[in-house]
């Protein structure tokens, strides 16, 4: 019996387990998925938890509920990949052989990369919202916040869900308005980028929204350290930003497993072919979702589009056929803008987000790069889609894997 091994049962790994369970011949292939955790978190929910929009129980379910019967879930921790031996060494001493390895170990925050970030103020007045613990601790701090300087900050790129910090700033504006204390809170958005976003047209639209909501912007801020006593961030040019409450997105790194295995770059992301999703170094290794170094967004929607293409490529690989170079970097993201509205962006490696209609060209009903209530309803409905369709690998109706150019105003 030949073996497919999937590392990681998060969004990407779970989708892949479901796809392959349908597609590969089980008389020849055994599918295993490894994850030491028990719980699957709906990560987009981390954005809503601090604002009391979601409760913790809305965003956590057992991992095993989403792994299909034909796939073995191995609830153990992997220690090291031995790519030359085609083996995964487990912490408990087991050695698991594979014929095909799919790495879907995601990325995590690494606050220890910046001196002082994980200091005495960590989870006191310095918070992340990229972990369940961070997001929950931040919810309590937001509830108790009496006013002052709220700073929303990105440490360095790339980060998972690059629009999330902007959404946080927008939702904070709306949250404090509802609490009738917006006049007591100064909100500042601090980024290492030269504008609100990396792509020009979206930057323009998003900067306009920041201005409209009276959110200050500090660009090109390369953080050097955090001074915990004086509660301020200092950058490489000596600029200082004081805060009463700092909501930061720390450096994002791939799993430490890549470092142990010598398979990652300096941030533990795995060098991957951006069109086929095959490892650049080992032909039987494929990389899905946030774990790779491809220049696409680190986001669930990207992992969803990738999973459809990777499934085809695994089947080609099994049959010794050439792989399809068809992943175009497609991402599709709702951006919450507060007050019950949202934007939608749809883009890929070569086309930046622009205005238009989605998914039906010229009709919509969703509008690209424009605020609307319909987009916000879409974002809320997405949680249901995630648990019931996305993880199970069900194709989302009308949303194509490759980005559609029709209906967009390039």
């Amino acid at each position: 019996m030949k073996k497919i091994l999937i590392l990681g049962a998060g969004t990407a790994g779970t989708m892949m387990a479901n796809h392959l369970n349908h597609e590969v011949d089980k008389k020849e292939w055994e599918i295993n998925i490894i994850d030491h955790r028990q719980e699957h978190y709906y990560q987009p929910g981390y954005l809503f938890l601090p604002f009391d929009i979601y409760e913790p129980e809305d965003i956590v379910k057992p991992i095993k509920d989403f792994i299909p019967k034909g796939v073995n879930l191995i609830n153990e921790k992997a220690l090291k990949i031995l790519p030359l031996e085609k083996m995964v060494q487990m912490v408990n001493g087991d050695q698991l052989h594979y014929d095909i390895l799919i790495i879907a170990t995601g990325c995590n925050i690494a606050p220890e990369e910046i001196p002082g970030m994980k200091g005495s103020e960590w989870h006191q007045s310095v918070f992340d919202f990229y972990t369940f613990e961070g997001s929950l601790a931040l919810r309590n701090a937001m509830r108790d916040f009496k006013g002052g300087k709220l700073v929303v900050h990105i440490t360095e790129m790339p980060i998972k869900c690059p629009v999330a910090p902007l959404e946080f700033a927008f939702l904070a504006d709306s949250y404090f308005k509802h609490k009738k204390m917006r006049d007591k809170v100064e909100i500042t958005y601090v980024t290492p980028l030269s504008g609100a976003f990396t792509k020009p047209k979206a930057t323009e639209a998003l900067s306009h929204l920041l201005d409209e909501k009276n959110i200050l912007q500090i660009n090109d801020f390369g953080i050097k350290k955090i001074d915990n006593e004086q509660k301020k961030m200092i950058d490489y040019e000596g600029r200082e930003v004081a805060f009463d409450l700092l909501v930061t997105v720390p450096t994002n790194k791939g799993d430490a497993l890549m470092e142990n295995s010598g398979m990652g770059d300096d941030l533990n992301f795995i060098p991957t072919n951006k069109a086929t999703l095959q490892s650049l170094h080992y032909p039987e290794v494929f990389v899905l979702g946030d774990a790779s170094n491809i220049p696409a967004s680190k986001a669930g929607s990207v992992a969803h589009f990738e999973a459809e293409i990777l499934t085809e490529n695994i089947l080609h690989y099994i049959k010794n056929e050439p792989l399809k170079e068809s992943f175009d970097g497609h991402a599709n993201c709702f951006i919450e803008t507060g007050n019950g509205k949202a934007l939608l962006i749809d883009f890929n490696y070569t086309h930046e987000p622009v205005e238009g209609s989605f998914p039906f060209p010229g009709i919509g009903p969703l509008r690209l790069l424009k605020e609307s209530r319909m987009n916000h309803m879409g974002k809320l409905a997405f949680r249901w889609i995630y648990w019931h369709m996305l993880l199970k690998g069900t194709h989302i109706p009308f949303v194509s894997t490759a980005m559609q150019e029709e209906g967009k105003h390039f």
Partner: protein, 103 residues
């Protein structure tokens, strides 16, 4: 679009980055650095420019973190040499594309 700089016509994009690296030379680098308010390019500047061009030719994506670990320059000095957005300024002077921060 065309841009005439130090007596030569070169192709640049709307942000002023060269679109054809083969048109780059040291005079162009000096002229762009003036526009970016960097008065003089010393030996360390040139060493960094050379390193960036070398990475570009090998198609290795650039980031400030990588440059800090390259052994060519540390991050603090990189900011001191190319103030206010060192990577975007240094790549412009080096005649290579502005690094696409992954999104």
């Amino acid at each position: 679009m065309d841009k005439t700089i130090s007596g030569k016509t070169i192709q640049v994009n709307e942000e002023g980055y060269l679109t054809n690296f083969s048109e780059w030379d040291k005079d162009i680098a000096l002229a762009i650095s003036q526009e970016e308010h960097i008065e003089e390019l010393g030996p360390k500047h040139w060493k960094i420019i050379e390193y960036l061009q070398d990475q570009f030719k090998q198609e290795i994506p650039l980031s400030i973190r990588k440059i800090g670990k390259s052994g060519v320059v540390d991050i603090e000095e990189f900011y001191a040499l190319f103030p206010q957005g060192p990577l975007k300024k240094a790549t412009k002077i080096a005649g290579i594309p502005k690094p696409a921060s992954c999104i």
